[in-house]
């Protein structure tokens, strides 16, 4: 099977999955009845005219299938509708809230990649030493500690006891740090990024270590050593390159999962990102936001899977397609 056919098959699968999940969520939300009716049940005294208008605005006076198709058509034109709770276009909200999520998630992924390479290689070159044992234990603990618990401990230590970092939010509304919005926002990022980085670094380090251990045993490493290259060059230039494929694919998964893990992180730190928005949207049944975020989360995850599959085949020709 050619690579092109493989990619096309994956793309079809992707589209089916994304549409399937959006149908699932759409009909689930509508199973509770009209979201507008549910929302307005608690607010009596709104005249029927206004309700009719609102329903018309959200296309809710039509059949369910038609509603769904309208939504799908609008999405194709990048029109995600208007948030019921915030009254803003969802597209604008995605950009403002999304930036906050991307800010902490991407910096944490990059930071943990750098850390994991250094720590993982150190552990692999000193296999079974005390350093290795310590690194492995810390990494294994890092994989088991629930993210929100780590966040709570960080807040307790650094916000409440030592009073160094802020415990919530992305910006100060007054008394900015050194009167600089940039420094202030960096200051707020420290704890959430630390929490994410610990978790990501733990998994990545284990991956780097186990792959490096395998590669360092191979003949070409011995040949490189024997030909008199500097040990550091052998490890970081020759061996690391060969141990990197699984790490790269895991990075793709981390990027894909970015929004999936955001709700918990952002609730712990009351961070104004997409995860926090998603939680409030579910609580308040803000269905245009729920639908859009679900679409994006699924899309990112599926893309990450696609990239992983393709990367394996392109980078390592030994791997067959299916």
């Amino acid at each position: 099977m050619g690579i092109l056919r493989f990619i096309i098959r994956r793309l079809i699968f992707m589209v089916a999955l994304v549409v399937g999940i959006s149908i699932l969520i759409f009909f689930m939300i509508n199973a509770i009845g009209n979201p507008i009716d549910v929302l307005l049940a608690e607010r009596p005294g709104i005249s029927p005219d206004v309700i009719e208008n609102v329903k018309h605005y959200y296309h809710m006076d039509r059949g369910l299938t038609e509603q769904y198709l309208t939504w799908l058509g609008n999405v194709a034109r990048l029109d995600f509708g208007t948030s019921i709770v915030y009254g803003q276009p969802v597209k604008d909200m995605l950009l403002t809230w999304g930036w906050e999520t991307v800010k902490i998630q991407v910096s944490s992924i990059l930071l943990s990649l750098a850390l994991a390479v250094v720590i993982g290689v150190t552990a692999a070159t000193r296999q079974y030493s005390k350093t290795d044992f310590g690194i492995m234990t810390t990494a294994l603990l890092g994989r088991s500690i629930p993210g929100f618990f780590l966040g709570i401990l960080l807040i307790l230590c650094f916000s409440y006891w030592l009073q160094i970092f802020p415990s919530y939010g992305a910006y100060s509304t007054r008394n900015m740090l050194w009167n600089s919005p940039w420094l202030d926002s960096l200051w707020h990022m420290v704890l959430p990024v630390a929490m994410l980085t610990y978790f990501n670094t733990a998994t990545l380090t284990l991956l780097v270590r186990s792959n490096m251990v395998d590669v360092l045993r191979q003949d070409f490493v011995m040949a490189a050593h024997a030909s008199g290259l500097r040990p550091r060059d052998v490890v970081y230039r020759h061996a690391l390159k060969n141990a990197f494929i699984p790490v790269l694919t895991y990075l793709a998964i981390l990027f894909g999962l970015m929004l999936g893990t955001a709700p918990v992180t952002e609730t712990v730190f009351t961070w104004p990102g997409l995860g926090y928005l998603y939680i409030t949207a579910i609580a308040q049944l803000d269905y245009p936001v729920i639908m859009t975020e679900n679409l994006i989360i699924t899309l990112m995850l599926v893309m990450a899977n696609l990239v992983t599959d393709i990367a394996y085949v392109v980078i390592d020709p030994r791997i067959r397609l299916e």
Binding site: F13, A16, L17, G20, I21, L24, I25, M28, I29, A31, I32, V38, L140, L141, R143, S144, I145, P146, F148, F149, I152, L153, I155, L156, Y160, S167, L257, L259, G260, T261, P263, V264, T267, V268, Y278, I279, I282, A283, L285, I290, E293, N294, I297, T298, L301, V302, N305
Partner: protein
């Protein structure tokens, strides 16, 4: 490799004939005993199980006792009367914590029971029958593997909570918790199905299964008495991991405020006390520690089980 797997096959056959002395379990336990992380995991899980079984004895107060609130003793720091303090709602934190253990175990075991039932049936059919059924079922599994489970579950739990209002279902105790368990199970089966398929594919070609077929053993008996017991070791590891994973998921769902308000769960303690972290940190920290210890226990247990039951996998 082939001699080793053949060995395993004869172990399984010996087990079926009731020769227990050097059976798969005895051998596995011997290997497990030597594994320190596995033993640590077993100890942690054992403690949680013990606490869950003994919860009426261990808890100093009733889990629903809010009397401290009336005496203006909510959010009180740890004392002799309340060893872990009281929380924002006037509950005794230790009692809530102890009563959270059975909830956590029920969530873990219940969801994995659902997941392994679905997973083993689908994976088994896929691996044993093969052909078109295999192709279809594996596409279906792949579909489920890519779903962003957590975010979908959040919507589902919320919607179910609204749907049941006013229906007879509403009267079922712990309905919300049961829904969470069921949904976790329904979304948790794909890894088990995949593993079951691989094991069934491998085992159905083995000599001992061939031998059983030759002497005229019924297909049903081959599947349930010869293949399934030999596939279990790999599956048990996944199930142990899944129990920890489900407990973590439930606590995250509860922490975000979509849990069962009537159930006593560690995630609920976090949810209700998180905003008072600065005033009464003991409640949130105790609940977080309980979740951490339990999840760590199941992860380490799974690690030890991998070493003990599938020595082939770890090199």
């Amino acid at each position: 490799m082939s001699t080793r797997t053949a060995d395993k096959g004869s172990e399984g056959a010996a087990l079926a004939h009731g020769v227990r002395k050097h059976g798969m379990l005895a051998l596995g336990w011997q290997r497990f005993r030597r594994n320190k992380t596995g033993l640590l995991g077993l100890t942690l899980v054992g403690v949680v199980v013990l606490v869950a079984v003994l919860c009426p004895v261990l808890a100093p107060y009733d889990p629903d006792d809010q009397s401290a609130m009336l005496k203006f003793e909510s959010k009180a720091p740890p004392s002799w009367a309340h060893p872990l303090g009281t929380d924002r709602m006037g509950y005794d934190v230790l009692s809530r914590l102890v009563y959270g253990a059975p909830t956590a175990l029920i969530v873990g075991l219940g969801s994995m029971l659902v997941a392994s039932l679905i997973g083993i049936v689908l994976g088994g059919i896929s691996g044993y029958i093969g052909g078109m059924a295999d192709e279809l079922l594996m596409r279906f599994t792949e579909f489920f593997l890519v779903i962003p489970i957590f975010v979908v579950i959040l919507v589902m739990v919320r919607i179910f909570g609204i749907l049941v209002v006013g229906t007879p279902l509403e009267k079922i105790p712990y309905l919300n918790l049961s829904t969470i368990i069921l949904i976790l199970g329904v979304f948790g089966w794909p890894p088990i199905a995949r593993m079951a398929r691989v094991e069934f594919l491998r085992l159905k070609e083995m000599e001992f299964v061939e031998a059983a077929r030759c002497v005229g053993v019924e297909p049903r008996s081959i599947v349930f008495r010869h293949i399934l017991p030999n596939a279990l070791p790999s599956l048990v590891v996944l199930i142990a991991l899944g129990i920890g994973g489900s407990i973590l998921m439930e606590s995250m769902i509860s922490f975000l405020g979509f849990g069962d308000p009537k159930a006593v769960s560690w995630g609920q303690i976090l949810y209700f006390n998180y905003e008072f972290l600065k005033i009464s940190p003991w409640a949130a920290v105790a609940a977080g520690t309980a979740i951490f210890v339990t999840v760590l226990g199941f992860n380490l247990l799974a690690d030890g089980l991998t070493d003990a039951l599938n020595p082939r996998l770890k090199e």
